[in-house]
């Protein structure tokens, strides 16, 4: 009596599998070109980043930290980067940065226009909002499944999974940002007869920028959080080292790679946050 009757069974998984199969076989060309696109972008990113000498990167981070926050922060970030280098994870860090950066850029390119549309069309918002809710409650490794199904193993599915996981905050905060631009300001703009584009570019976006930047920060941090998980399906870099360390129960290696991820996350978080602050304008 306590058992749920087996005759009533719902094989949701089967349907999804059929759907994915249909997608990947009948629309092979589409996924191939997406894969090629992501890969090309990622490789370009990697070659640019690894082309820059290490001391230049450290120099840039120092200057950015100094300008945006102060000398002490600049020195602090420099110290953290040097530590990563001394621990022997410099190249892994660059790999991780290029994956994260690629995923973040794709998220922003998709997420910001999406957020703007949601802010302007109530009906779209009604659909997007519950989807985002669902996405944010899902554990991160769930995204690995569709990534593998669509793209197999490797860097591309890793970037794909990371992108999907990192997408919700920037959409959400863009919508919020646009919706909370002061009504009188929008009407003031309207009263001069701008086209929708002019209103968006000259008033709404600049006004929304601080909040959108908060979304960019969150999205970046979400992408960082995917570093270890996505290495399970083939992302190289710091996450992969952590994964190996876990498999080998190599505490020392786990610590070194782990602390490198933490340092990187701190630097990225602080820098994107203070870029956001630069956009803030008081009333």
């Amino acid at each position: 009596m306590n058992e749920f009757p087996e005759i009533f069974e719902l094989n949701a998984g089967d349907y999804v599998e059929t759907f994915v199969k249909w997608l990947t076989t009948d629309h092979m060309a589409v996924f191939d070109s997406i894969r090629d696109g992501i890969l090309a972008f990622l490789l370009r990113m990697q070659s640019i980043i690894s082309f820059i000498p290490w001391f230049v990167i450290i120099g840039i981070v120092f200057i950015a930290g100094w300008r945006l926050k102060g000398v002490r922060s600049g020195l602090f970030y420099t110290l953290m980067l040097l530590t990563i280098g001394l621990l022997g994870y410099w190249n892994d860090t660059l790999l991780t940065i290029s994956i994260v950066l690629t995923a973040v850029i794709i998220s922003l390119v998709i997420g910001i226009p999406f957020g703007i549309l949601s802010a302007n069309y109530k009906r779209m918002d009604n659909i997007v909002r519950p989807v985002l809710d669902a996405m944010q409650t899902m554990p991160s490794f769930v995204y690995l499944i569709p990534a593998i199904m669509l793209f197999g193993l490797g860097m591309v599915p890793a970037v794909f999974a990371t992108t999907i996981y990192a997408l919700p905050p920037v959409i959400r905060l863009t919508t919020l940002a646009i919706n909370s631009v002061s009504k009188e300001m929008i009407e003031a703009a309207e009263s001069f007869g701008p086209t929708p584009w002019q209103a968006l570019l000259k008033v709404e976006l600049p006004q929304a920028m601080p909040t959108i930047m908060a979304g960019v920060n969150q999205t970046t941090m979400m992408a960082m959080a995917m570093v270890v998980v996505s290495s399970m399906i083939g992302a190289k870099g710091l996450g992969y080292s952590v994964l190996i360390a876990i498999n080998r129960t190599d505490i020392a290696m786990g610590f070194d790679a782990g602390i490198s991820i933490v340092f990187l996350a701190i630097i990225i978080d602080r820098l994107t946050q203070s870029i956001g602050d630069k956009f803030r304008h008081d009333e």
Partner: protein, 390 residues
């Protein structure tokens, strides 16, 4: 010339305005419609017209529909029914493009809480409208600088707007509207967020600017003094309906109903009424060559104690006499000119009663009123002064 004509304009807020409109047309009142259909009649069946170059003030209590009405004029509110003609074109027939054109060239708005763009500098705020019109950078900067100068904000061009005081912010709002060279300016309680002293400055500023620019201004206020100070004509809104339209004097003299009477109770009439509104026209004047005896008869025949002596040719006032003076002249066989007093005072016919009051306090004679050419046009008895003020 007529610039704007509004015909039976109605704006109803709610999900199904057309339904509520039917109720309104059946003659239902605002309250009933709100209770029965949960729709708010912002304004109902409002008609009026505004002349070119006049300052048309709309006043009314909070919630009377002032903002609703003014926002219909540039279609920030989409009217539920009615027509709005600007230069004989019904702006409700405009498509999106024509509406943008209309807003870019003909009409600008000044907002109660300024509506300035906090991400732009003072100068960039003023440039905004010109930028929308795609004027090139150099030209629009020149023009904006000029405008900022006109409103007295020289030296503040590159500041953030957040650094400005309320009065200065609204000057930016005004400059931004003027830079576009609109024919019509809408001002929705532009000065109500300012403190009284600053507000007084802004009034002067606006009157000065308007004397030069002669724009058609629609000005909203709930401050009666402001309305009477600035308005060439005043319209009074109550519960979304227009209860009276007229010049300040007309409204003061014949308040259409109790609502307006209450409204104008706290107005300082001495700042609104002018000498010509309270004077006795062409009352009792005596030519300087009139015989004293005849003059005395004329004076006794009137209900005045004093008579002004004028020159018959140019109608200038020469002096003032009372009955005793004339008796003296009769006795001594003197011409009137010998006995009249010349220490009378005169005011221009467009002087405010406030000025007349100050002058009247210093003389024992009635105040003579003269026109622009210096001709005698009437007099103000001190009793009339008091009456005008209650």
């Amino acid at each position: 010339m007529e610039k704007i004509r509004v015909e039976n304009l109605t704006k109803i807020f709610g999900k199904h305005p057309q339904k509520a409109l039917e109720e309104l047309e059946k003659g239902k009142k605002r309250d009933e419609i709100l209770k029965e259909t949960h729709h708010t009649v912002g304004i109902g069946n409002v008609s009026f017209s505004v002349h070119e170059g006049e300052t048309f003030v709309i006043m009314g209590l909070s919630g009377s529909g002032k903002s609703t009405l003014i926002r219909c004029l540039n279609l920030l509110n989409k009217p539920t029914a009615g027509k709005i003609f600007v230069d004989d074109e019904n702006i409700l027939d405009y498509d999106k493009k024509a509406l943008r054109q209309f807003r870019q060239t003909k009409i600008a708005m000044v907002f109660q809480h300024f509506g300035l763009f906090s991400h732009r500098s003072v100068l960039e705020n003023v440039e905004f409208g010109l930028e929308i019109k795609k004027m090139d950078k150099e030209e629009r900067v020149t023009k904006s600088l000029e405008m900022l100068k006109a409103v007295g904000l020289e030296g503040w061009e590159y500041h953030k707007v957040s650094a400005l005081s309320g009065g200065m912010k609204q000057r930016v709002g005004l400059a931004r509207a003027l830079a576009n060279e609109p024919e019509i300016i809408l001002m929705d309680e532009p000065f109500s967020a300012l403190d009284p002293l600053i507000r007084r400055d802004m009034h002067t500023e606006l009157l000065d600017l308007q004397a030069k620019l002669k724009k058609t201004i629609i000005f909203i206020t709930h401050d009666v003094n402001e309305a009477f100070k600035l308005g060439d004509r005043i319209a009074v809104l109550k519960d979304g309906e227009m209860v009276q339209i007229g010049t300040p004097e007309e409204i003061l003299d014949n308040p259409a109903d109790e609502y307006i009477t209450n409204f104008i109770e706290d107005i300082d009439r001495s700042r609104v009424l002018r000498a010509e509104n309270i004077m006795r026209k062409r009352s009792l004047k005596i030519g300087k060559n009139t015989a004293a005896k005849i003059a005395l008869e004329i004076l006794n025949d009137s209900d005045y104690e004093h008579g002004f002596i004028t020159d018959r040719h140019d109608n200038r006032i020469l002096g003032v006499v009372d009955a005793d003076d004339l008796l003296l002249a009769i006795k001594g066989k003197l011409p009137i000119a010998e006995v009249m007093h010349t220490d009378f005072v005169s005011v221009s016919e467009d002087a405010y009663v406030k000025e007349v009051l100050e002058i009247a306090a210093a003389t024992k004679y009635p105040v003579a009123v003269v026109n622009g050419e210096g001709e005698y046009v009437g007099r103000i008895q001190r009793a009339a002064l008091l009456k005008a003020l209650v």
